[in-house]
């Protein structure tokens, strides 16, 4: 189950952060997202030479914590998407698919003429689209 989604801009400024749990873990989840930004920077600046995915947007599993798995995705415009989930047996392909749909929703939200680049995304439609994508993710990877 996805517990948290975040979009972080070029200057590490938060553009969108949304938790999907009922409990009050919001602060802990924000902290996890914040730490994962460092992991992303490290991965981008020191690419492993043997890694075939040096130019890919999808960064894969960033780091596993005690209960959560954190996945990262970096767009060409240096915007980072971070996904925190409690599922332990997630397929890579599902996460890639999720990020693809999320990227499309993000691009549409940014194309809104009332959106100011660099400020938070406040579109309700974006929030709804994201909830739909999150729900369908849970269904498709249910084992």
């Amino acid at each position: 189950m996805i517990v948290c989604l975040a979009v972080v801009g070029h200057e590490n400024n938060p553009l969108y952060i949304q938790s999907f749990t009922e409990s009050d873990d919001a602060l802990k989840l924000h902290h996890i997202v914040h730490c994962s930004l460092d992991v992303i920077d490290e991965r981008v600046n020191n690419p492993k030479k043997s890694s075939p995915t040096i130019n890919e947007a999808f960064l894969g599993l960033l780091y596993p914590t005690e209960n959560y798995k954190v996945y990262g995705y970096l767009t060409n415009t240096k915007v980072k998407f971070i996904l925190v989930t409690t599922d332990l047996d997630i397929r890579d392909a599902d996460v890639r698919n999720f990020f693809r749909k999320f990227h499309a929703a993000y691009v549409d939200a940014v194309s809104n003429p009332f959106h100011v680049p660099g400020k938070r995304i406040t579109s309700r439609t974006f929030g709804e689209r994201v909830s739909t994508i999150v729900k369908s993710f849970g269904l498709s990877s249910a084992s």
């Binding site: 130019n55 890919e56 970096l74 060409n76 415009t77 993000y106 194309s111």
Partner: protein
Amino acid sequence: MEGEVSESCVESLLAEIVLVVGHQFSERYTMDRPRFTDNLEAIKFICKDFWSELFKKQIDNLKTNHRGTFVLQDNRFRWLAHMSIDPSVQASGNIQDPSAMAENKSTQATGMHLYFPCGIIRRALSNLGIACAVSADISNLPACSFVIRIKA
């Protein structure tokens, strides 16, 4: 009657629009592509994909001095294709030369139409992480050259 808009006015009015539009274009058109490895890849993206999305054609000629300056030449720039040109002032069409410009209003007016494409290119490149300055050369309309100077 004061019908002319001063250049600095145009620039400031367009600056904000360019900021937003350039940002949106760059987000949308880089969506499905892998990350760029270096500046040349990003410039080639501008020449091919970006230009085809905006103008339905690719850049006709790309030159570089391998030291951070690129010249993109479009032989028939769509946004200026239907602009009438005064043949007598064809020789001094470079909009970066203010003294020559003061003498011909048509070139000046045409030059103002170039702020938007230059700005979009600059904004798209800065979104990809490349700080640069973009200027345009319209000495041979309808051909238009964009000069991109990457700030080191």
